[in-house]
């Protein structure tokens, strides 16, 4: 561990700079912009989960008074297959275009087939009903195990399994196979005294951000098209929209509105190219907003999975072998987060013999999107459940079993790096020593724990810091703020500049106003954009010292920078930042600095959660009665928002464990496309969520920061379901542990 630094602003609970706007309703989100002459757009969607499009007749819609434009996939230029990196995941740009407007086939119920723009919402709704689409229905494939059968209906005639030794000659619903291994898996199991082996299942779930996707766009013939939208990555909106419409990047300006939640779901696009086509055809600005039902049916949920896990250990608890086969649903187009799942699944453990296979499989559901630590909760649910079962079989405490096998500094991670300082052991110790873990349980109650790992990548960030003549500061960044990151950006700038955090204004510039920034995702922003801010702020300090040195006619090494003031070490003369900036025009020009970087390394972070549940034996309803989330933050910049990430991830994971699932009928139609039936946790469903911030500094960041947004959603799935298992004495391997499923388990036990 590096030495503990003495910070002035870092670690404080400051008021966030966008706070007033957010609590007064003034903050402008995706659907909040209206432009003069603006039209309202609506999307026509497929009533079938799988069908060939024979014909689309838009003539009646076009003839309706007040309809100004209609768009179909025929309005998109033909583009070739090409992989585009978007946030933590990548997308094939041709697939993305076809997901925005279906071409030739519809691949899920709700798939967009056409769109209209009209002078009012009412007319747009009427026009959508007038679009006539002729389909030839095909059999939908709704389950990953069905989809991989040899005789399964094929979604894409041109999809051939990648990652096989030989290139296959027949198309398949398996888009990719991936394998990671080390050691000798058979020898590892031969060494084991105890082996657990089980299949696990997780459902399709939705990120459930409260703000539906929305954009307002204006196409300009002179090359200044504008897109206002709620996104985690406006540079990726620009890149993907430009590719789909065959435009140059400089001809599109994307303005990131305030964003009402994303959790990975707003790292891709559904509306923007469609709206821009409608704007081009009508010559008017266009607003296109999804309703909640469309969000559930046609935006990207998180993958459903089927996994098989086998773990072997010696009697003393030493794990000798870990094996997994992981199947991920990609939805309609290839590209599930199978790869990170394979890379994460056993990473909390230092084990000699490991073998993991992963499969990315297309099915007739909406194309999945990233969802908070994409791929990891599903895989680690299976692995952590297996570890808990192993602890039972060994009659060992599950924390002790994990401590005995925990990854630590120097452990070679199967996905590549040898870990530098990491905090899993510290998190496990904190769990073991918590009052929660030592507290007694009552009747019908159960407790369990689980660990979770996420990479927390860096990627690219660009920032500019401009000093105002009065010594206040504008920090120009390009990382959309989904959870309060402007607060941590202002605090890091304040720390370096020695200027009060209230004098620092962080802004999210549009794509024309700052250099390129990767999407806000992968818990990268405070880590990587923060690093760029620190670098730029250090440059600003250097410039201000140079100006002071010039004024005093001394050398730079004779100037100190103390709490935002230049101090002449020879005679104690002082010049404040405000004085230096006010005179900047006559001492060399305005003071400004920029930094653009691709962050080296990452901030691997581990979490350990402790869950207590109580099960109603008559109904199968599960209540979480006590919950503790422990996680390594490296260094918590704003502890309040770090705790908030832990609590929010825990709550989402609890929902995933207990209630949330897409329920389809036999025709592939989603039956619970609303918050009433897709039930995310309510205030009345949850207890207070206790948090412990562990700080093992990340050697790749100047303050030791690790991303904190994602690891917290991983442990709840296994911690909660294993707690249910312990309460009822039946192992729960299928999520969610909803009342019908738990009641069935209780009844099967009693029979």
């Amino acid at each position: 561990m590096s030495e503990v630094k003495d910070y002035k602003y870092i670690g404080q609970r400051t008021i966030r700079p966008d706070g007033f706007d957010k609590v007064t309703g003034r903050a402008n989100f995706g659907a909040d912009l209206t432009l003069p002459g603006m039209l309202w757009a609506r999307v026509k969607r497929s009533p079938y989960a799988h069908a060939r499009i024979i014909d689309i007749d838009t003539s009646k819609a076009e003839a309706l008074a007040g309809v100004m434009a209609v768009a179909t996939a025929a309005d998109f230029p033909a583009i070739a297959s090409e992989t585009l990196q978007m946030g933590e995941t990548s997308a094939d740009i041709r697939d993305l275009a076809r997901n925005n407007l279906a071409l030739e086939k519809v691949l899920y119920h709700g798939h967009a087939v056409a769109a209209v723009a009209a002078v009012s919402q009412t007319i747009a709704d009427q026009a959508v009903e007038l679009i006539e689409v002729e389909y030839a229905e095909l059999t939908p494939v709704m389950d990953v195990l069905e989809a991989i059968k040899d005789d399964a209906p094929i979604l894409h005639d041109d999809l051939f399994t990648a990652g096989l030794a030989e290139t296959p000659e027949t198309p398949s619903n398996i888009a990719m196979r991936m394998e990671l291994k080390k050691g000798d898996i058979d020898a590892g199991f031969a060494e084991a005294d105890v082996i657990v082996e089980r299949e696990y299942q997780t459902p399709t779930v939705h990120q459930g951000y409260i703000e539906p996707h929305a954009c307002t766009v204006r196409y300009d013939e002179d090359g200044q098209s504008m897109i206002w939208c709620c996104t985690q990555g406006h540079f990726d909106v620009r890149a993907s929209t430009a590719k789909i419409l065959n435009m140059e990047l400089s001809k599109i300006k994307v303005i990131a509105s305030e964003i009402g939640g994303g959790f990975g779901g707003k790292t891709t696009i559904y509306l923007e190219p469609v709206a821009l086509v409608l704007s081009k055809k009508s010559g008017r600005p266009v607003k296109l907003v999804m309703n909640r039902e469309e969000v559930f049916r046609a935006s990207g949920p998180g993958s459903a999975t089927r996994s098989w896990i086998k773990v072997g250990a010696r009697k003393d608890g030493t794990i000798t072998a870990m094996q997994g086969i992981l199947h991920y649903e990609a939805g309609a187009f290839k590209g599930s987060p199978m790869a990170p799942g394979v890379m994460c699944v056993f990473t909390p453990y230092d084990v000699a013999n490991v073998h993991i296979e992963g499969f990315d499989v297309v099915v007739n559901k909406p194309k999945v999107a990233a969802y908070r630590a994409p791929g990891a909760p599903q895989a680690e649910f299976a692995a952590e459940s297996a570890i808990n079962e192993l602890a039972d079989k060994l009659d060992m405490d599950p924390i002790e079993l994990r401590l005995k096998n925990a990854a630590k500094e120097g452990t070679q991670a199967i996905y590549g790096p040898k870990f530098k300082a990491i905090g899993l052991v510290e998190c496990l110790e904190a769990a073991k020593n918590s009052a929660h873990y030592k507290s007694p349980l009552g009747k019908n109650q159960g407790r369990s724990i689980a660990a979770g790992f996420w990479f927390n990548a860096g990627m690219s960030s660009s920032v500019v810091i401009n000093m105002n003549p009065d010594g206040t500061v504008v920090v120009v960044e390009g990382s959309p703020d989904i959870g309060g990151s402007r607060a941590s950006m202002a605090m890091m700038a304040a720390e370096e500049l020695g200027i009060a955090v209230e004098k620092i204004k962080p802004i999210i510039a549009d794509t024309d106003g700052v250099g390129l920034n990767s999407t806000t995702g992968g818990s990268r922003t405070t880590f990587a954009t923060g690093m760029a801010i620190i670098e730029a702020a250090q440059d600003v300090v250097k410039q201000m010292k140079e100006r002071a040195a010039a004024v005093w006619n001394v050398t730079l090494d004779q100037v100190d920078w103390v709490d935002g003031v230049a101090v002449n070490t020879a005679d104690e003369a002082r010049l404040s930042a405000a004085e230096i900036c006010a005179a900047a025009g006559s001492t060399g020009g305005p003071i400004s600095a920029r930094a653009s970087l691709t962050a080296r390394g990452a901030g691997p972070s581990f979490a350990v959660h402790v869950a207590d549940v109580e099960v109603d034996p008559d109904t199968g309803k599960v209540d979480v009665i006590r919950y503790t989330a422990i996680q390594d933050a490296g260094k918590a910049i704003h502890p309040g928002y770090v705790e908030g990430q832990y609590q929010g991830g825990a709550a989402q994971g609890i929902g995933w464990a207990l209630n949330e699932e897409y329920i389809y009928d036999e025709n592939g139609v989603l039956e619970n496309a609303g918050y009433l039936d897709y039930r995310i946790p309510l205030a009345s469903d949850l207890p207070m969520i206790e948090t412990v911030i562990v700080e093992v500094p990340n050697p790749f960041h100047p303050y030791g920061v690790r991303g904190v947004g994602e690891s917290s959603i991983i442990p709840p799935l296994a911690a909660v379901s294993s707690a249910v298992s312990n309460a009822i004495g039946v192992r729960m391997s299928e999520l969610p542990c909803s009342p019908p499923r738990v009641l069935k388990a209780i009844q099967s036990r009693d029979n």
């Binding site: 609970r13 008021i15 966030r16 966008d18 706070g19 007033f20 706007d21 957010k22 609590v23 007064t24 309703g25 003034r26 903050a27 402008n28 989100f29 659907a31 909040d32 209206t34 919402q121 009412t122 990120q207 459930g208 951000y209 409260i210 703000e211 539906p212 305030e258 964003i259 009402g260 939640g261 994303g262 959790f263 309703n291 909640r292 989904i482 959870g483 309060g484 309040g640 928002y641 705790e643 908030g644 990430q645 609590q647 929010g648 991830g649 825990a650 709550a651 989402q652 609303g674 918050y675 009433l676 995310i680 946790p681 309510l682 205030a683 009345s684 469903d685 949850l686 207070m688 969520i689």
Partner: protein, 159 residues
Amino acid sequence: MAKTHVSTTINNEPVEFLCEPNQTLLDCLRNELQMTGTKEGCSTGDCGACSVTVNGRLVCSCLVFGVEAEGQNIGTIEGIGKAENLHVIQQKFLEHAALQCGICTPGLIVATEALLAENPDPTEAEARYYLAGNLCRCTGYDKIIRAVMDSAAEMRGTA
């Protein structure tokens, strides 16, 4: 469709607007009156992002027709506090970091004000059940409930 003229009171100011008979109060607030502080999360009364009061009673404005506002007194987030003089509830939400993305925040603040008007001294369970109609996906509610309980204490003068 012929539009209907509506005379109402919003945040104690007289307001008139035209709307179609099938437009919701939420739609009228946001798109006829440009009062976008009230948010749309579901339009089916499940998420509470569009919470407003009608004559002091907490409702989802997506479940009320615009024409029903005729002669009523509507309360929205724009009527609660000002940036230079925030309401106690708004201040406590900021102090407790009780918001992350902020889309549910206006609705939760409107709902919390209604809660504390009805019940100035709620238990934690009462607060949780009263606010169960206001979904938040970011925070896990912990800090929201703390902000609500702290607001209640301060408003009672017992903080």
